[in-house]
Amino acid sequence: MPELPPEITLDEVKERARLAGLPIPPARLALVQGFLANALRPIRALDSRAVRTVEPAVTFDAKGGAEVAR
């Protein structure tokens, strides 16, 4: 599988919007691209195999309630 490019392209934004069935007005595509790029930059820079095993676990206490891990 080819590696992901570090930045989101405009074509990728359009493809994601098409797959999600979400109508993004053409005039706003660049803005959306900026939001996506900023949020995803740390993730695209991440080597997922190198992250220590700090998984997003949910823990359960003995009293029966679910507690989101803090």
């Binding site: 900023n38 949020a39 740390p42 993730i43 992250v51 220590r52 997003p56 989101v68 803090r70």
Partner: protein, 463 residues
């Protein structure tokens, strides 16, 4: 004390006046309602003023105080961000989507403060669904900053910040998903506490992002935040994230000072893009805390630069909440908000998971930093409040956030004023502590506020 001074009095002072019979809670509520009537036309902090309810609450509080069973909040006025469900009172979330919703229940926080004897003045404007600033023509126009009406008061608890700065309430509740308590506190020169995730119930408060949402008090001082937190904190089975940690006495140690307190400063991420005046005010505040006996040292959080990934979590969760309405009645959302929310539908599942893994890494690194110091102190915002004309540019980007890291980590964080810009707008720092250690955060903030008077300065609109 003049009427103008009285509208800025703190909870301890007001409580003393009420208990000694020197001031009637009914008269006080009446005066504040009159002040709202006079000043809020230009500020637009309130969506709904609940005058009759306020007077009924005040009469009940006065009777309780006379019987000798009124608590420290009896008769103290409060107003709620319009995300907090209030029985029989419209709760709009600042959006046409919920513009006519009248809940048949009180959310847990409102019920708790009602039981504590607080007097409900009304509901305060919020950015639409705690996320999207209102553009001209919106059904619910935005609040304005009392320090300069051409500038935003911050958001999303915008009405809360404006009302407190203008002396239109004594306390308020805000919500904070990426800085929505601390941002308005910073821009309006007031105090705002985002408690530890799970410390204060979110049941009955309109959601933005489940794993990042916090509820908490806003007031004009750290001490007033402590009073309100005391009545709010504690387990609520109606909020699945609510903690069972015991609730300490937040006022007991408030006067303890900061002698020997170890303060950590993260010098890289939190100072990037921060304006020079904000940094200068921050350094003066650190020096003041040092003079009071605190020990300041630099610390590092290696993964802190991954903070922007929290937008993946926030937007994905927000989209999950809003998807049905976005697809079936998108015209009811503000245009720019609608597009921001839709971004949340463009992330992939693996990206959300990776963002949560990065979040765990940031949380772990921050916890490690807090093994060597008692609190972290950072500039709250990058600069003073921006002008409406800037943020009303539809292409205005998400700014880098100094506040998001403490939503990711869930740590208790207090924003308090540190001075003013050359343009006369408030500046702020935030004090963050270990999980459930609000007491230390509030003690540090209170010590700083005893030594400074930034929180006693009043905006021109309130003169």
């Amino acid at each position: 004390m003049t009427a103008a001074e009285l509208c800025y009095a703190g909870i301890r002072e007001l409580g003393g006046l009420f208990r000694r019979g020197e001031l009637s809670p009914v008269d006080y509520a009446t005066d504040l309602l009159g002040r709202i009537e006079r000043l809020d036309k230009s500020l637009n902090a309130y969506v709904t003023v609940t005058g009759e309810r306020a007077l009924a609450d005040a009469r009940a509080a006065e009777a309780a105080i006379r019987r000798g069973d009124g608590g420290p909040l009896a008769g103290i006025p409060i107003a709620y961000k319009d995300l907090y469900a209030t029985r029989g009172i419209r709760t709009t979330a600042g959006s046409a989507v919920l513009g006519d919703w009248v809940p048949d229940f009180d959310c847990t926080c409102v019920a708790r403060l009602q039981r504590a004897g607080m007097v409900m003045l009304g509901k305060l404007i919020t950015h639409e669904f705690a996320f999207g600033i209102q553009f001209p023509g919106h059904r619910f126009p935005p609040a304005r900053n009392p320090w300069n009406l051409d500038h935003i008061p911050g958001g999303s608890s915008s009405g809360s910040g404006a009302a407190l700065a203008a002396g239109l309430t004594v306390g308020s509740l805000g919500s904070d998903t990426g800085g929505s308590i601390r941002g308005p506190a910073a821009f309006c020169g007031i105090a705002g506490l985002k408690p530890t995730y799970g410390r204060v119930s979110r049941a009955g408060v309109v959601t933005l992002s489940w794993t990042l949402d916090h509820t908490g008090p806003m007031a004009r001082s750290a001490e007033d935040c402590a009073f309100i937190l005391q009545a709010l904190a504690g387990h609520d089975p109606a909020d699945p994230a609510s903690a069972r940690e015991p609730v300490p006495d937040y006022l007991a140690g408030l006067e303890g000072g900061v002698k020997g307190l170890r303060i950590g400063v993260v010098r890289d991420y939190f100072f990037e893009q921060v304006e020079a005046e904000t940094v200068a005010a921050f350094e003066r505040a650190l020096a003041e805390l040092g003079r009071l006996g605190a020990v300041v040292r630099d610390v590092t959080i290696p993964s802190i630069h991954a903070t922007p990934s929290f937008m993946v979590i926030m937007l994905t969760e927000a989209f999950a909440y809003h998807e049905r309405d976005l697809r079936t009645r998108p015209e009811l959302y503000g245009e720019v908000l609608r597009e921001k929310l839709m971004v949340g539908g463009l992330f992939r599942a693996d990206e959300y998971v990776q963002a949560q893994r990065l979040r765990a890494q940031i949380r772990e690194d921050t916890a490690r930093a807090l093994e060597t110091v008692d609190v972290l102190i950072t500039p709250t915002a990058l600069g003073p409040a921006p002008a409406f004309k800037l943020v009303h540019d539809p292409d205005f980007p998400f700014a880098k956030s100094n506040m998001g890291p403490f939503n990711i980590t869930g740590l208790p964080t207090l924003a308090i004023p540190t001075g003013f810009s050359s343009s006369g707008l408030p500046l702020s720092m935030q004090i963050s502590g270990r999980p459930f250690d609000e007491a230390t955060v509030l003690r540090a903030g209170h010590a700083y506020q005893r030594a400074t008077d930034w929180h006693r300065r009043r905006p021109p609109v309130a003169a």
